[in-house]
Amino acid sequence: MSGITQSLPEKELDKLPTVLASIKNVTHEAGVSGAASFIHQDIDTLGPDLASIQRIADSAGQTNMALSIDCLRYWEEAANALHISIDWKRMSEQGSSTEVFRPTGRIGDLLDQKIDAIRDQYSFYNNVETEGFLRNNSDLVPILFEAIYRIRKYFGAAQLKLRYSEDPEGTGDNYLDLAITTDEPVDTALEKLEAFDRHWWLEAGKDESRLIIDIEIE
């Protein structure tokens, strides 16, 4: 069989302009190519930041950052396209989002690379569930990459852990816990977390209920 000829849902493809434009709040007909150029600009800006992550990691003895700037290029576009496929896949009998979707082709390969790179930086508590959640919520991947850089600014080489958690009230609103493990005194760690929240996460994560970032004192 030479590739799958089943179609992607037009209803979901119609969301593409909104999804792409919302990345940087550019107006649509500016067009989406405007949004794409913003993405590239962001990636270029991210380049030096990644270099600084590398320096911090090197100084902390973590040399294998496995973050390739080239690999990140166009990632957001691919992730958005992928997200649409996943939304389609979710349109099952119960609207379930717990089924792991393995996309095929280059987008699937790209997602595999990204999840491997995430795994290099984060310890997964519950491996299967965490990976499954990431596959079904692949738009979290760029956020997790950026979180590394933001966290390292305040917590240096602290160990980062990801844990898939289910909403205790059983509403189905499941999420990832990102634990920053630190051996610093509690007051110092909390001050740093507050600064981290104030300078990035409160704004970046204000509409993001699928990721909770907290500290874990060793």
Partner: protein
Amino acid sequence: MERTLANGNVVLVAHQFNPAIIDKHWLIKHGIVTEDDILSGAINIPHLSRINTKDFRLTVFPEQLQFSPLNPNKCSQEQIRNMLGGIVERLPETPYTAAGINFLWHLTPDVTMQVFTRSLFYQKRKVHEFFDTLDGKYGAYFSRDIFGTRLKLDIKPIIIKKEEASTETLQCSFNYHKDLISEDKVTEILETIQVWEEAKKTSFQIIERLKEEGGI
């Protein structure tokens, strides 16, 4: 019982497309559409091209080109031949590997989905017996060769969400798949497009049978 043709389209698979070159200017330049046909909402980025016209929507990913008439019920084979065929003929060097025609039907029964799907698909078999509960729902997969393609039919209950309201419907997804094996891929694609009407009619007839057999 309500039946709706929710979608109908043609998908081409290649190794691989270059979405960057297929934009509205390219379509106008090659006489496939006029400037007046183009609607707003076009996207053209390196890994994706999406063009809306008053007759069809065209989406191109590196692996896949999707041509969706706005009204698959009324769109004629000749129109598809002129529009999609026109695109394919102007990209003869593209390494096409497969072509497919898709129809997506939704059947919304007057009875519950449990009752409806049970009447269609339940059999006295061990696996079925496991799902023989008050909340059990059923589906089916069929395939066979027809019109020089491989027809695959997936049937399953789904929930469609529209704003606040949800509707449960039986989704019947028809995929007429053709692997392109000859040297002349363009001709093979054009031949596949030529079964659009027959494929649509066949899918309609199957939907009618499901309606009859599931009628309570």
